[in-house]
């Protein structure tokens, strides 16, 4: 090497890529903008609205205290929607977890045509909502329902069922369509949990001589519980805050029997123009969702696995 000329003699320069502190801020910026602009701002705006009398017709913001809250709490539609939301979420979640677990158990096995079954299971997830809505409206149509046609052909029913026209059947239909929509997501999550069980454990279960049900209850379910809880959390939030199915199929009817809090908030606040009450109804969901999320996340963390 020639004397005195080394690459290290040049003055060291810090490039942008070397400045970790600046990079961290730069990379966080889009997320921060997104969360503040599209989550935090609307949330606090809604909170503000719920204590005012703002409507689409009269956008001036007058503070009215708890009046909007008192109004919705004394409304019978609110309580109908509240219990409907609980029933809708509860029954949906039970069905989703059970069906998703069964599908996941089948799909982690090796069999011929597995890719086709997987494709079919994931199909509802990839179907555009509008297309799914049209199909379901046709399937559940009061006059042209193919389900009714098949049932009539077999002689199970005399006349049409009017799925969306009777309170219990309407709620059943809403739940069925929602379960159909969420099951693929839950299946994929639970499948990941089942595949994460080490193959040595699977072999040990076989050597120890446990049958299908014992393996299911003593090994598979306990070991997939944490990830199932995550699936339940996602599913519950998607169900609790969902209004698409109700909006498309029944618009809350007949006689509010399928009205849920999120759909009622939409009808009141956006279609009815009463932004303040819509905000108050929508905000009522928030503490419930928060509580559910905290309970589930804690359960997952404290669960003694691995």
């Amino acid at each position: 090497m020639s004397a005195g000329v080394s690459t290290w003699d040049r003055r060291p320069k810090r490039k942008l890529a070397d400045r970790d502190d600046l990079l961290a801020k730069l990379f966080m910026l889009p997320t921060a903008v997104y969360i503040i602009g599209l989550v935090a701002l609307p949330f606090f705006l809604a909170l503000l609205f719920s204590f005012s009398d703002v409507t689409t017709g009269n956008p001036s913001l007058d503070f009215v205290g708890l009046r909007q809250w008192r109004t919705i709490l004394s409304s019978s539609v609110f309580w109908t929607s509240f219990w409907n939301t609980i029933i809708f979420t509860g029954i949906s979640m039970v069905l989703i977890v059970v069906i998703a677990h069964i599908l996941a158990t089948v799909l982690v096995k090796d069999f011929k045509g597995k890719w086709f079954v997987r494709f079919c299971v994931l199909l509802p997830w990839t179907t555009p909502v509008s297309l799914a809505a049209v199909s379901w409206l046709w399937l559940l149509n009061s006059i042209f329902s193919p389900i009714d046609w098949v049932l009539r052909w077999f002689g199970f029913i005399e006349s049409n069922m009017y799925y969306l026209g009777r309170p219990v059947l309407a709620m059943g239909s809403i739940i069925a369509v929602h379960v159909w929509r969420i099951v693929p997501l839950a299946t994929v999550i639970i499948m990941a949990g089942l595949m994460a069980i080490p193959s040595d454990i699977e072999d040990a279960v076989e050597v120890d001589g446990a049958g299908f049900w014992r393996k299911l209850w003593e090994i598979d379910i306990p070991l997939t519980l944490p990830i199932t809880a995550v699936a339940v959390l996602f599913g519950a939030i998607l169900t609790f805050a969902d209004m698409t199915v109700v909006f498309i199929l029944t618009r809350g009817g007949p006689t509010q029997s399928t009205q849920v809090l999120s759909s009622w908030a939409f009808f009141k606040g956006i279609e009815g123009g009463d932004l303040a009450q819509g905000a108050a109804i929508a905000l009522f969901l928030f503490p419930l969702l928060l509580a559910a999320a905290i309970v589930i996340l804690r359960a997952v963390r404290h669960r003694e696995v691995m």
């Binding site: 076989e206 050597v207 120890d208 003593e218 003694e304 696995v305």
Partner: protein, 366 residues
């Protein structure tokens, strides 16, 4: 391990001649990649025997064990346990117990529930289950850990739980898949000793898979050395060590491995510890082969001197060899110097130049 007061399972269970594993013409082909994992294996164990399947990774030893366990189906051949063909039978119907490399303890169950699980699956009544589980826990010295979860146990304790879970079912055969490989080196030696004592006490036929020749030599009554899906040699440790059936066994077993010198149509082999300075070997009787060696380097390893040298007179291109001089030999050996070494002719082994298989002795006078 503390001495247990009951030496046999509560409900009898001793041994009989029928409790032997035998495989006949066993083959296993995996479609994916067209792998012949097991390529024609015939092995039979005798009652109470400790049989070790030894080989490098990918030699088919674990696949063979899994086929015996019933976790894999063979492509061809038969598996017999206790004299009956068990092909197609599920693992639970074969009277086997298996300890896995990872131990495969159920992470959400306590030690007691882990040990109890196979008994529960077998449908035993709770009283008997408790008796058996406590017997097994006591035998392995883990009776004070019964209510802990696996993640709160050390590696050695986990291994004992896995063993306890294996013995409660009173199996006719233990299948152990590298049960020591997850332990650190220090613990491994004592665990190996415990494992051997434990097996001797129970007297249960054991098939043990390992890639570690030290474990194999130390534990096995017989060793089956496997390579590329075939058993290359089956015999007691001493025989496998000093009379290897081919060059693979010769070089796989022993550390440093057997020296092999290419002599055209055949290979000349000898163990490093048999090749000594001429002064150290005189007076032991028998025909002795004396040669000049050029010493290149000497290593001191746990008291032994490992001498790296060439022996030009024995093979072409200067025949590189390693000699291992035990601490009891104090003849001086120097780097970069020619010296006279010797070996008894009875310690020379000969292998075919093409197939690598053992052949009768040839004249080696240089």
């Amino acid at each position: 391990m503390r001495a247990p007061d009951t030496e046999s399972p509560p409900e009898g269970g001793g041994l009989s001649m029928a409790h032997v594993v035998e495989v006949r013409g066993l083959k296993k082909h995996f479609e994916a990649g067209d792998v012949r994992a097991v390529d024609g294996v015939d092995v039979a164990t005798s009652p109470g025997e400790y049989l070790v399947l030894l080989g490098p990774s990918g030699c088919g030893k674990t696949t063979l064990l899994r086929i015996i366990a019933g976790l894999e189906d063979p492509t061809e051949g038969e598996v017999l346990i206790g004299g009956n063909v068990v092909n197609g039978l599920p693992p639970r119907a074969r009277g086997i117990a298996m300890v896995f490399q990872s131990y495969a303890l159920y992470p959400h169950k306590s030690v007691l529930d882990n040990i109890d699980f196979p008994l529960k699956a077998a449908g035993l009544d709770p009283q008997e289950r408790r008796k058996k589980a406590e017997w097994a826990a006591k035998l392995l010295g883990i009776d004070q850990l019964l209510h802990r979860k696996p993640r709160n146990l050390s590696g050695g304790e986990r291994q004992r739980v896995a063993l306890a879970r294996a013995i409660v079912r009173d199996p006719s055969v233990f299948l152990l898949d590298e049960p020591l490989s997850n332990l650190d080196a220090k613990l491994r030696t004592s665990a190996r000793d415990e494992l051997k004592q434990f097996q001797e006490r129970l007297g249960t036929t054991t098939i043990y898979v390992t890639h570690d020749q030290v474990e194999a030599m130390g534990l096995g009554d017989r060793i089956a050395v496997m390579f590329q899906g075939k058993v290359r040699q089956l015999g007691p440790p001493k025989e496998v060590y000093s009379d290897p059936a081919d060059t693979f066994v010769a070089t796989f077993i022993g550390s440093p491995p057997m020296n092999l010198i290419d002599r055209g149509d055949h290979l000349l082999g000898f163990r490093p510890e048999n090749f000594l300075p001429v002064d150290a070997i005189n007076g032991r009787g028998g025909n002795v082969l004396e040669v000049d060696v050029q010493v290149h380097r000497i290593e001191y390893l746990s008291g032994d001197r490992h001498v790296y040298a060439t022996v030009p007179s024995l093979g072409r291109d200067g025949a590189h060899i390693i000699a291992r001089i035990p601490p009891t030999v104090d003849v001086p050996v120097f780097d970069d110097r020619d010296q006279r070494f010797a070996i008894h002719e009875r310690d020379l082994r000969f292998f075919d130049g093409n197939t690598g298989e053992r052949v009768p002795p040839r004249p080696v006078r240089s």
